[in-house]
Structure formats: structure tokens, C-alpha cells
């Protein structure tokens, strides 16, 4: 099975304090000084793909869009068995261009890199569009399952996919090819390669490609303007619980706070 996992390297926005959220002269919030990471939903996509490959043979490719800051992460992915690791060297701000991104990925798949399965996180931490997997599926003419939280091989050309739906979980056995948008998959932190596997993968290199669609990429635009930033204040009323001793305090907390919540669950 050929599996393509698309991942994005994003700034770790949790490391920004409120005072760092400033619109700079170039009309952007500067996050260039912040540590980067694999987009968390993409990280789940990578780990779930590794679990698929643990159980059934799969050729795993990873694809990212961006500059050299992705290299340390791609090294790690090579050490975990992703081969090839592909980086499309596309300039500009792609955060809000899901249609352009989908077009680039579709062009990669259709230009001699056939896949049975394309997996990615449902949205990125900085763009937050939530559209790329669906637009990609449309471009490829494939079905797409969203809010995926697990998948495993189910015989030749078939995949058993678990996804989260309003009422609970849905398990489907589907025919490939397919696009999966990975949602909140608990316990899917990316595994860690050993030093030995890093050394063994040390000679491999990232395949760096120019965008297959040339400079005029459909849906790519940079004319949006950041007008203002508004902090979202999330405050809840609180009060001090009083009591004569530990038992009284626990009772007060239970009666006044927890009991109603537990009954509502």
C-alpha cells in the first residue's frame, strides 16, 4: 500500500504570551522567533500511519510545503521509516490557501507518485481552515472521511476506518483510494526514533521539489489584510469554598460544585 502523509511545520503558538500578539509593520503577527513543531493533527496522522505500517506492509511518503525549517522534522520522519520525505519549496504565506495547497498535493500525486491513501490532520494550528483534505479529495476524485481517529488494513485494497461522529464512533470498511482527515485521536503522539535508526537514515536526503503548477497556483493569494487582533477572554466566576475541616470542605465542593455536573454527564 502506498500511503502519503501530508504534514505542516507550525509555530508553537502556546509559547506566545499575550503581549507577543502584535500586528507588525508587514501586517502580520511575527512568530519567527518561536519554536516550531509538527502540526498536532498531522502528528497524529503520522503516528497512525506508522501503526498501519506496523501491521501491514506500506510504503510511507511524507510531504510538506515550506522552507528549510522543516528539515529537522523530516530527518526524524526518515528515521521512523518515511521514505521518501518530500518538501515542496513554495514561497509565500500559504496559511489561508487550502485550495492552492490541495491543488499542489493533487498535482504531486497525479504526476507519477500514485498513492492508495492520503492522510493529513483535519486543520493546522495556524491556518485553521479545515478544508484542505476535502478539497484534495475533490481534486483527486476520491472519497474523504473526516474526524478519523484510527485506521487499519482490512484486506487487499480495503481499509477499516474509525471516525468520530456526533453520536459516537463510526467504523467503516472502505475501498481505496481514499483521503483521511485525522481529528482528535487520543494517545497518538509520534513515537521517537532511536539513535541507531537516526544514524541508519542519516544518509537519506529530503526530495526538494518546485511547485508542479508553476507560479500561478489556483487559489493562492496574499492580498488579505490583518486588521486587528482581539484577545478572547475566557473567565469563569469563582468563589472560595469554606469549611471547618477537610471533610467539610470536600462536602461543600461536592454539594455546591460537582454534584450538578456529575448528574448532567
Amino acid at each position: 500500500m502506498n500511503v502519503l502523509v501530508c504534514c505542516k511545520i507550525v509555530p508553537d503558538l502556546d509559547r506566545l504570551s499575550e503581549s507577543d500578539w502584535l500586528v507588525q509593520d508587514h501586517g502580520q503577527v511575527d512568530t519567527g522567533f518561536v519554536r516550531t513543531m509538527v502540526n498536532p493533527y498531522d502528528e497524529s496522522a503520522l503516528e497512525l500511519t506508522l501503526r498501519l505500517a506496523d501491521a501491514a506492509p506500506a510504503r510511507m511518503t511524507t510531504l510538506t510545503l515550506g522552507g528549510g525549517q522543516a528539515e529537522p522534522f523530516l530527518k526524524t520522519l526518515r528515521a521512523l521509516g518515511f521514505d521518501p520525505t518530500v518538501r515542496i519549496e513554495a514561497q509565500g504565506d500559504w496559511r489561508f490557501c487550502p485550495d492552492g495547497l490541495a491543488a499542489l498535493i493533487a498535482a504531486y500525486v497525479q504526476a507519477g507518485h500514485p498513492q492508495d491513501l492520503v492522510v493529513m490532520g483535519r486543520q493546522s494550528a495556524d491556518g485553521d481552515n479545515g478544508k484542505t483534505p476535502l478539497l484534495l479529495a475533490e481534486a483527486l476524485g476520491w472519497p474523504c472521511i473526516t474526524e478519523c481517529i484510527g485506521f487499519e488494513a482490512a484486506g487487499p485494497g480495503r481499509l477499516k476506518v474509525t471516525s468520530r461522529v456526533d453520536a459516537g464512533r463510526q467504523i467503516q470498511v472502505v475501498r481505496l483510494p481514499l483521503v483521511l482527515a485525522v481529528g482528535n485521536a487520543a494517545g497518538s503522539t509520534l513515537r521517537v526514533p532511536t539513535l541507531k535508526s537516526r544514524m541508519q537514515a542519516g544518509r537519506q536526503r529530503t526530495e526538494v521539489l518546485e511547485p508542479a503548477l508553476g507560479p500561478a497556483i489556483p487559489g493562492f493569494r496574499q492580498d488579505y489584510v490583518l486588521e486587528r487582533l482581539t484577545a478572547i477572554r475566557r473567565r469563569r466566576a469563582g468563589r472560595m469554598v469554606t469549611g471547618a475541616d477537610g471533610c467539610a470542605l470536600a462536602q461543600a465542593l461536592y454539594q455546591d460544585g460537582l454534584k450538578q455536573r456529575l448528574e448532567n454527564l
Binding site: R35, Q69, T189, V192, T194
Partner: protein, 480 residues
């Protein structure tokens, strides 16, 4: 006839009252370990004797009463405050131990801006003391990574050190006076004076005792003026650790005291700095204090670094942002727990120190041996974070995948063998095996190698203050 568990609990309730004596099974299990055995704890495995009770004390008098009772009945007592220890110092190795917890003694007694002193009970969280000091435009200058969790008694007992130590010193430089209770119930107070030469400095009997000699009930530490507006951050990438150590040495020998002076190797650096320093060492400085001093310190560092052409300066904001996200609060601890369970990958640290002429060799020797002898490694590296006139520390960082083991085998297959290598390589070249985490239980087997002929002094202290051997058995000095 040895006293029973039930009798211990009954007597503790008699002394302290029902509310201060906890016998809940889960609490007792969690109280038998500290972060050293966190993989076992995460998996609900508790291999050590479960204590008889956790006894919360509210005063030095209560501590005295409990210790007198324990001493008379040969009951092991493990002093505790913040429960953030990392080396097994809080493990209960004896049957039916009492965990004596001072975290409810959490009053800041006095902040004295005239004399620049802060007095607080042992259970005051350092973060709380620091926040109170900052309201007065002051700081304790003490900032270990555990600041959001650690409490003053434990910080003094472990001889802790913080991120700004190169300027402010370790806890031993900050403690002015203290109060401690000894196993025979004697409560001793050392008064707060700037300096004295009235015999040996007995504060150092208490500072670093790790609960093996006494229970610390109150501490007075220095306060410093808080001047963050003058902070200057400097960062550099470079190729070689040897160059980095040499730069640190020059900064210290030339007389400059940045509050932060850190050197990361590429492996440890990759975890923190891959966004700008992939495959490189990283040097970080922060100058702190009055404006003239911070400017002069920063200028001097830049001049020293300029003599080493392999160094490339890094944007200041990158360093500042990294630094602001360094400390470990409950959120990061919780995140770490989830990651360990999900990835079956865990990391630990071993901190040592040595003189300048051997530190790089210790680093290279230890890393080479760890890589050669320990399986399933995912990261071996280290950084220096506390420098002195005559040397520096080294914080070995080692992560590994947990392969085909039961939870209780983690320390046998990986952690203790790594510590053994680091201790051996450090001792071979005359360094110390413990820079600031304390000996705990898991480096005590090498304590005689550590002390050499001066072990006589350590042993005599233990015999003098704890002749019945009730204080935290197995800590610093191994169990007989």
C-alpha cells in the same frame, strides 16, 4: 517487639489530630516514590514498602513531637514538602515509614526590604515567595525549573540551584538563617546575620542534608532588587562543545557574572532549538541587574565570543522566548505523563560538575560510553547551565524507548546503568557526581567514592544527629 503500622497511625493521630494523618491507600502508594520512579507510578506499579501514614505538620513543635516518637520507636521518617524530588530522595525504603509533610506550613513569615531578607515556613512554594517579592520590586534570584512546584524546605534540603545561579549563586549562597528539628526533637534556630566567624558555618550541616539529618521548618533567604527592564539576552550557535566551555571559562575568569550562562550540545539543543540551530551547539547568556552592569557584561561577552569565529549570533527574541517557556508547571508535568504513556519513551537527567580542564573530557567520555552500552537510546546529550570561577556543571540528558520491559524494570535496564556510567566517568577525572539534585537513594552506592577520606566527616555527622538511623534511610548514605 517492633511497633505495628496501626500503632504508628494511632500515635500520629494522637499527636497531630485525625485531619493531619492520611492513610488513604492511593496517597500512601504515591508517597512511597518520587520522580525517579515515575514510569512505575504512571503504570500503577509500586515496588517499595508503602508508608504507614503521611503526616502533615503545622509547626516546629509538631515536627518535634513526631520525630521524638519516631526516634523512640525506630521508625523511618521521610521529610517532604513539594514532592518534586528527582533522585529517589523521597522513596520509603523501610517498612511502615512516616512521610512527614511540611507543605501545610506555608506562611510567608516576613518580607524585610530594609535588610533584604525573606523568612518563610518550609511549605511555602518558591513561586509564591517569588510572586510576593516581586510585588515589592524584589526577587529571590532562585529559579530552578521546578519553581512552580517546589517548596522552600525541599529546595534547601536538596541544596538546589536555579537558572540564574551564575549571578545569584545556589541556595547555599542565598540562605541566611533557618530553623530545623532533629531526630531527638531538638529545635535549632540559626539567626540571620550577614556573616559570622563563630566556629564552622553550621548552616551547611542542614543545607543539602536531604532529610537525612533533620527536618527544615523555616528558612530565611536573601532578596535582591528585581530589574528585568535591564535584561540583555545573547545567543550564539557554534560547532564544538570545547569552544563553548572555553568561552564560559573566559567569561567567568574575566570576572563577569551573567545570570544565565548555558551551553547546549547538538543533541540536547535539537530538543529546544531545532528552529534555528539544527546540528549545532548553542550558547545562551542573560545579563541581569543595574543597567550599567548588564550593558558592560553583554559587551564583554560579545568581545569574548568575537575571538571564536565559529560562533554565529542568534536573534535576541528567539532566546528570550525560549527562556520564558522553560519552567515546569503542573500542565507540563501532566503533558509529560501522557506522552510517556503514548510513546513509551522517557527521559531523565544526571547532573555533575567538574573543573574546567576536565569537563569536556567527561562529557565526551560519558556520552560515548552511554551510546555504546545502553540500548534503545533516542537522545544522549547535555548542557552546562551553572558556571563558576573554577569549573561548571554538566546536565546529561538521556531519553530511551522502553522496549519489552515491565514498568519496574525501567530503572534496572536503562536509568541506573546510565547513572553508573556518568558517575564513573565523572569520578575518574575528579568531578562530583551530584551538582544540584542531591544524592537521593540512587547515587548513594557511590557516596564513599564521592567523598574519599572526607566520608569520615559525613558519617560522623549522621551518627551524631541520627544515631538511631530514622531519618530517610538510604538517602545519601546507603542502607546497611
Amino acid at each position: 517487639m517492633p511497633i505495628t503500622r496501626e500503632q504508628i497511625v494511632k500515635e500520629l493521630i494522637q499527636i497531630l489530630g485525625q485531619d493531619q494523618v492520611i492513610t488513604d491507600e492511593q496517597v500512601l502508594k504515591l508517597s512511597s516514590v518520587d520522580r525517579f520512579r515515575r514510569y512505575e507510578e504512571l503504570n500503577g506499579v509500586f515496588m517499595l514498602p508503602i508508608p504507614a501514614a503521611v503526616a502533615y505538620v503545622l509547626s516546629a513543635e509538631q515536627v518535634s513531637a513526631v520525630l521524638k516518637f519516631a526516634n523512640a520507636n525506630r521508625i523511618n521518617v521521610v521529610p517532604r514538602t513539594g514532592h518534586s524530588a528527582t533522585e529517589g530522595g523521597l522513596e520509603t525504603l523501610a517498612e511502615n515509614s512516616i512521610v512527614l509533610d511540611g507543605s501545610r506550613m506555608n506562611r510567608i513569615v516576613k518580607l524585610d526590604p530594609c535588610n533584604m531578607l525573606a523568612t518563610c515556613q518550609c511549605g511555602v512554594p518558591l513561586q509564591a515567595l517569588e510572586d510576593a517579592a516581586r510585588e515589592l520590586g524584589l526577587t529571590t534570584g532562585h529559579s530552578p525549573q521546578s519553581k512552580p512546584l517546589a517548596q522552600m524546605g525541599g529546595l534547601v534540603a536538596t541544596r538546589s540551584i536555579g537558572q540564574f545561579s551564575t549571578l545569584y549563586g545556589g541556595i547555599e549562597d542565598m540562605v541566611v538563617g533557618l530553623e530545623a528539628v532533629f531526630p531527638n526533637g531538638t529545635c535549632s534556630r540559626i539567626k540571620n546575620v550577614p556573616r559570622r566567624a563563630a566556629g564552622p558555618d553550621i548552616r551547611h550541616v542542614v543545607i543539602g542534608n536531604e532529610g537525612a539529618l533533620c527536618f527544615i521548618t523555616e528558612v530565611t533567604v536573601k532578596l535582591f532588587k528585581y530589574q528585568p527592564e535591564n535584561n540583555v539576552y545573547l545567543g550564539y550557535t557554534l560547532e564544538h562543545m570545547g569552544t563553548g566551555f572555553e568561552i564560559l571559562r573566559e567569561v567567568m575568569v574575566d570576572g563577569f557574572r551573567p545570570s544565565v550562562a548555558r551551553l547546549y550540545d547538538p543533541e540536547d539543543g535539537a530538543y529546544h532549538f531545532s528552529h534555528f540551530a539544527d546540528g549545532k551547539c548553542v550558547l545562551i547568556f542573560m545579563a541581569e541587574g543595574p543597567k550599567g552592569i548588564t550593558e558592560a557584561t553583554a559587551r564583554a561577552i560579545q568581545e569574548i565570543v568575537a575571538h571564536h569565529p565559529e560562533c554565529r549570533q542568534v536573534e535576541t527574541r528567539i532566546i528570550q522566548n525560549w527562556f520564558e517557556n522553560l519552567n515546569w508547571g503542573p500542565d507540563k508535568v501532566a503533558e509529560e505523563r501522557a506522552e510517556i504513556l503514548a510513546t513509551k519513551n522517557i527521559g531523565n537527567t544526571t547532573e555533575i560538575s567538574a573543573n574546567w580542564d576536565v569537563i569536556n573530557q567527561i562529557y565526551e567520555n560519558a556520552c560515548a560510553r552511554i551510546r555504546a552500552e545502553i540500548p534503545d537510546l533516542t537522545l544522549v546529550g547535555g548542557h552546562s547551565s551553572h558556571s563558576y570561577l573554577n569549573g561548571t556543571n554538566l546536565y546529561f540528558v538521556h531519553y530511551y524507548n522502553l522496549v519489552d520491559i515491565k514498568p519496574e524494570e525501567e530503572i534496572i535496564k536503562y536509568h541506573r546503568p546510565i547513572k553508573k556510567i556518568v558517575v564513573e566517568e565523572t569520578h575518574k577525572l575528579g568531578g562530583t557526581m551530584c551538582h544540584h539534585h542531591g544524592v537521593g537513594k540512587h547515587r548513594s552506592e557511590w557516596i564513599k567514592d564521592e567523598y574519599g577520606s572526607s566520608y569520615y566527616m559525613l558519617d560522623t555527622l549522621k551518627q551524631a544527629f541520627d544515631p538511631n538511623g530514622i531519618m530517610n534511610i538510604g538517602t545519601i548514605i546507603p542502607m546497611p
